[in-house]
Amino acid sequence: MRQHPEDPILRWRDRPPGGEAAEDRAAALIRGSLVPAEPEELHLPRFEQRSRRWSRSALLPRLAFTALFLVVGVATVMAARRAGWLDRILPVAYPRPEPAPLRTHRPRHPTRVPAAAPAAVTDATPAEANETVAPPPGPTLAVPAAEIQLPRRKTRASRRTAFIDSPKPAAPALSDEIRALDQAIGLLRRDREADAALSTLDAYLARYPRGVLNREARLARVDALLMLQRLDEAQSALDTLPLDTHRRETELQVIRGELRARSDCARAEEDYSAVLARSLDAALVERALYGRGACRAKRGDGTGAAEDLQRYLERFPNGAHAAWARQWLEGAGQSLIKGG
């Protein structure tokens, strides 16, 4: 075989024989090799027969292999995602959804802490009522700490929605933050380990003082303190936390009012009034209305207290504080009649 005039490279087999270079040995190897023989006749019927057999026999294994491949692939990806490997490999493409904030419910048997006692009814002025009428049971602080009801586990659909609805890819730092906060909230919700959750949250806040999830961490910290009955610290934490108008934060504002009512009814009234001005949630309205009425009574504002408690009875005639409200109103009414 001669070199083609268009080819700039000489074929090895066209090299002159007898050289000792590696290329010469390779050329000798090629020159000394056998070449394919003319094959036997390949008949068309045999081709057709094999084609039919091949198409029949190949379909099932191919389908089985494809199905197996898909199942193994999907299982691998799901396992990797569950184990968090995808977060490490593709932290931007697979952000984890933000944890939902803790949600507390009004407990069935809440821990009740005596709070500010209302003013007693007097026969002269509401301010002197304490001295003449035995004070009814004081308002109670319904602290949901021990009864923090955790949200149900997210459904598959909601998880998917949360994942899809992630507004923008999370940065690696945010992933770390989410993981840290997740751990604390898991301790609080699942394990009810308020002490451990509090330590974790304090560590989180120390590590990320300006973290994106700082607010959520502080809210969770309040929950942990309430669960531990550390009411003064919970009040301090709530005092420094600007509360929003969401349901959860409105509830925290009621709780803050109840905590403040123990020593500062004026500020407690502010919280109650703010809640009553905007909330339509019956449970929160009931607590706020009763709390404000009790505080007003304690501060000597008999008229205001009577208005609140009257409203309370109209709206919640069978409420938890209805009996006390009736008792107080009867005493206040007598004293108001006497006082003209």
Binding site: D7, I9, R11, L29, P36, A37, E38, L44
Partner: protein, 218 residues
């Protein structure tokens, strides 16, 4: 290179391929087999070219490959794609291209099977044994034939250690005697790429050969 790399080459020869498939660049064994302007039937293509395709397959696979299987697969592709073949190109060039791709595909499957089962090549579906014979210049005595068979086995053993594209380029150029332009057309690459691949294939071939010689040296 693979089936997914450039399907149009197999589905339908591009205008550049058609021009490259002119008689001036058709390899010697392909010459004189032009399909002309009339589209041939599958039966006529099979009868006319099955043996040629089998010989190409033997060359590309080596003595241990299942050439009958490759011929079968190649003509399955031909039957599927023949309606799109416009008959403006050399049908042998088109068949050669299909054969190269089918061989590469077959070798990939064989490697995969070998990796999964650890049992060497995939079980052969063909019943015909590939035969390699001495060239006219070679002595025909039994000892020389035995040595030639051993050299052939060694040659393909070295080739099997090359990457698929390098192996194909090496065989097409060194063993089949195609020109760079023809190889570029068949493998759908630029001619400069062909030379680069050939250069690398040669370098690796020499390296493997030296390593083998060093191992077998007493």
């Amino acid at each position: 290179m693979g089936w997914g790399h450039r399907k149009s080459a197999v589905l339908q020869p591009s205008p550049s391929e058609l021009s490259l498939a002119s008689p001036s660049v058709t390899p010697p064994e392909m010459a004189g087999k032009s399909a002309g302007s009339v589209r041939p039937s599958f039966e006529s293509v099979y009868r006319a070219h099955a043996k040629t395709v089998a010989r190409w397959a033997m060359r590309l696979l080596g003595p241990s490959g299942d050439f009958e299987d490759v011929v079968q697969d190649a003509f399955l592709v031909v039957r599927r794609r023949l309606p799109g073949f416009r008959g403006e190109a050399e049908i042998t060039t088109w068949l050669y291209e299909i054969t190269v791709r089918v061989v590469q595909d077959w070798r990939r499957r064989a490697r995969w099977w070998s990796w999964v089962t650890g049992r060497g090549q995939s079980p052969s579906r063909g019943q015909m044994q590939a035969t390699f014979v001495p060239t006219a210049e070679m002595p025909k005595d039994p000892l020389a034939l035995l040595e030639a068979r051993e050299r052939t086995r060694l040659l393909y053993r070295l080739l099997d250690e090359l990457d698929e594209v390098h192996r194909t380029t090496f065989i097409l150029f060194e063993l089949d005697g195609l020109t760079g332009e023809q190889i570029a057309s068949i493998t759908d690459t630029r001619i400069s790429t062909v030379w680069v691949r050939l250069s690398r294939a040669r370098r690796k071939f020499i390296q493997r050969m030296r390593a083998l010689e060093a191992r077998e040296k007493p």
